[in-house]
Amino acid sequence: MALGAKGTLFVGNRLRDEVMAVVDRGDHREVKHIAKGLAAPNGVAFGNGTLYVAERERIIRFDDIENQLDEPPQPSVVLDGLPQQPSHFWKFLTLGPDGWLYFNQGAPFNIGLPNYIQATILRVNPATGILETYAQGVRQSVGSAFHPVTQQLWFTDNGRDWLGDDLPSDELNHAVAKGQHFGYPFCHQGDIVDPEFGIFRSCAEFTPPDVKLGPHVAALGMRFYTGDMFPAEYKNNIINAEHGSWNRTQKSGYNLTRVELGPAGNVLKSEVFMSGVLQGDDFWARLVDVLVMSDGALLVSDDWNGVIYRISYQKA
């Protein structure tokens, strides 16, 4: 999800071919179909009047979109030619404070040796079209955001499958600079060498996660809570959506997790912000992304029901 300057909510989609815009009319909301025929247009980001959309192999832009919602323009291409791969091709898009677009290029499989541009976080300068590798060793990150104060990129990463129910954990990481390696496929969760690819390597070589979010929870979209609606102690905390597990004997995840950070961006603690989607071994939703609205309410998207929820706070 992404929020336009005029309050338009833009919604990407992993499996449908379209991007939608939700306009709040006060007493009702209208859903507009901005673009159709796209390939896994999962990632959306907004800046300076422009909507950016990340498809499976390219990033496109819709300029001045909020003034043309009913007759949207044809998009122009920011970047094309990203790897064709059967898996982990869907992208999460974040516009950085530096004006670059940051996105994931996942590993094209569960576990293996990715090529030079896969299992990474990449960034492209929309003005020049220049692409750079920002971080490596990131198996599949479908959630990222810049810390409002430190301006560092924080991101979730989905851990590999088939090492059992309890390992490895999904990760929350942050990059202090371009060029770090976060472990995949050699080291998982900062302290497990991969049984096949980690032979002769040590996890000491790589950047460990800030938080282990739990095995197979499928940690996806995340934001820093920058609103004023929630109590003050939520300021600049991370809220992260979990899609929930498939590859686990007993299901895990399906929550919203809150990570509290100190002023220097150091992790203080991590806890469940919202639970109840998982009831025993049954679930009724699969959460994908969160977004802070201008009034401080928190939106949460759910691709199991095709619904966006709104969480608000009211002092009792």
């Binding site: 898996s87 091709f89 094209p108 499958d161 899609h243 590859n247 199991w304 029901n305």
Partner: protein
Amino acid sequence: MAPAVVFAYLNTAHAHDAEAGRQEAKEACAGCHGPDGNSQLPTVPSLAGQLPRYLILALYQFRSGHRKSEQMTPSAAELSDEDLGNLAAYYAAQKPAPPARSTDEQKTAAARQLAEADHCTQCHGPDLTGQEHVPRLAGQHFEYLEQQLRGFRAATRGDIDGNMTSAAEPLSDSDIDLLAEYISDLSTP
């Protein structure tokens, strides 16, 4: 992981019309898939007793072009969202026929090990009867299963998110035959 709008449809309190599904199936599907969803043609899958979410997903993918088939692409083209739900409700309620083949004990043991080692059971369930939108495989036609596994391995079979392509990649021809034989022989509890 599922198309949002399709499951929005399924998960609301909307009751699908299995009777309407039966009518639609009689006209449009029974010719290949059999009068009660048990196919007599080995390369055409049986649908009886299949999980409804998987049926909706498969029809959606044929209709949207995510999955391509000479037979199913035109068949699915005219289906409305309502049809998807009704057909799924009808076929899910049909009784699957007992498996026709029988495998020898040794092969069964080897295949069961392979199904665990390759993590088939993790998503498809311990008896390969499926869960949520992951299809039930138990008792499906040998030839159809073989065809799908080869298709996944060749990355030609439409795959939602690459899991099956990944899973099929390390399989040898004999692995595929062994698995397909074992799965087609699994009787339905």
